[in-house]
Amino acid sequence: MSDVQAQSVRDFVANEARLLNRGRYQDWLGLFASDGRYWVPLGGDVQHESDVHNALANEDRLLLGLRVARLLAGRAHSQQPASRSAHVIQLPLVDQVDDHAAEVYTPFTYVESRGEQQVWLAGHWCHRLRREEGAWRIALKRVNLLNAGAAHAAIQLFP
């Protein structure tokens, strides 16, 4: 693992968080590989990938695209007023990286605010990245919430 490679992974994750914090959802979508997936398992970090267990969200590009299109069309009742989010991330820990793939662990706290309401979540991201045409792309973004199985208020953006 070279320092340059590891730094490029950390930069990727930090930049991803910034895109979400700035509401640039279309650009964020562009970070996913064509077969990339965004997964928020209902069992949190103890859920295995092979478990037959549900998720708060388990979305491929098509469903993420639907989510982003709905947000950007400006016609969603639940977005009046609109939601905004802040991801406060710890320094990403690069567990593995080579020229083609990387795995990285990033603890976060997440605040989603909308009008007078605020949702506060915490957990960690597990990214599986793949190198495509000279750039990192998300093969899997797994979001392990501390309280995934709790009764949640609406989470409208992307923890």
């Binding site: 209902l42 098509l62 639907l66 069309a73 009742h77 009046q80 199985g149």
Partner: protein, 441 residues
Amino acid sequence: MSAVPPTKPVHPLVQDSCVHRDLYTDAALFEQERHRFFARSWLFAGHGSQIPASGDFITLDLSGQPVLLLRDAQGEIRAFFNRCAHKGSKLYTLAQGHAGKMLRCPYHAWSYRLDGKPLTVPLKEGYVGTGLDSSPSGQGLTLLPGVRVYREFVFVRLSPEGMDFEAYFGDALKAIDNMVERSPVGRLEVAGGVLRNTIACNWKMYLENINDAVHPVSSHESASSAARQLWQGHGSDEPMPMAMEQMLPFANGYEYFDRMGARIHPQGHSLLGVNFSIHSAYAVPPDYQAALEASWGAERTHEVLQRSPQNAVLYPSIALKGSPLSMRVIRPVAVNRTVVEAWSFRAVGAPDLLLERAMTYNRLVFSPMSVVAHDDVHLFESIQDGLLAMGNPWVSLHRNLDAIENAQSKADTNSANEWLMRNQYRAWAQTMAQPLASEHA
């Protein structure tokens, strides 16, 4: 249709055509509801597959009451108040677990048999002659006054008062039969985890909305139009992903949603989508159909499979779907707070596809992260605030009101008919107005 003459209200806040906002906003009324309505109704508590072995338990809060469901040494399901007979500590605080051969309170180690009878207490000699044996504290755990297990669905009644189980549900239980008989061996298992939501609204709005065939057109426009536009770019020969198969029917129009048909049952129960529903087009694997026919015969299999209602409501605690095998559980927490859970079922002996459909549908439509639910939840919470407005205190339920309703407790009708909701409030008003035993002179 001729003008509908008003009838004398059973409860001052429930008229033929509308209900008063206090039903949704008055905290004192919510407290009354707990004693007068929920305690005397049959409420869903759990499913037998959650506690398969003797000593297995689940705990839950049911209308403000701590409840412990347990499988006893004989394999029967028991329901207790989750409260030690000594000083009131809950016996268990985990949502699910295994007690072993006896129950033991963590505070002073009072222990109980699996049927709730007292077993031992430490320093026994200190109780000789104290009257413990004849006091309520010496009788062991308190059983819930009513427990009925119907095809593994466990229903309880918190109060000794109220209707008996069969009279309370009647034919509405056929919705459970339809789910269970989707398994060739007649057995369902809770699977895939439970998605849980907390919504800042009164429970009634959620239950009304389950029967509201008119709202999808306007409420879910943002999700359904995004789905439609996205899918338009794909070729017609491309196989439709399950998510699209489940999302696109939300884009249907008013006429479609009105033709689904609805069935009114007594006591507030109902069936929406008697003729068809947004779930009707899901493909049935051929081997699966053959397996069902081997168990139930061709006629019954056809009956089970052709019935994919939008929602069957067993008022006031659950809403069921046969396909996908999904259940919503509605748990009132406060006058303006409701927890809604989405459960998925595995039909034992059926293809994995059925569980996958249930989990996918629940995730797409009932998850806290669902874009369909986001608009519903926003609107329920908006109503909760909006109803505080001074001036007009009434919520209109006039659509398709007809005088025949007062004479009929069971009927088939059009699905946009707000009879489905008026039916819930008639049942609510009857139970609320019924004197408690303590009120009889």
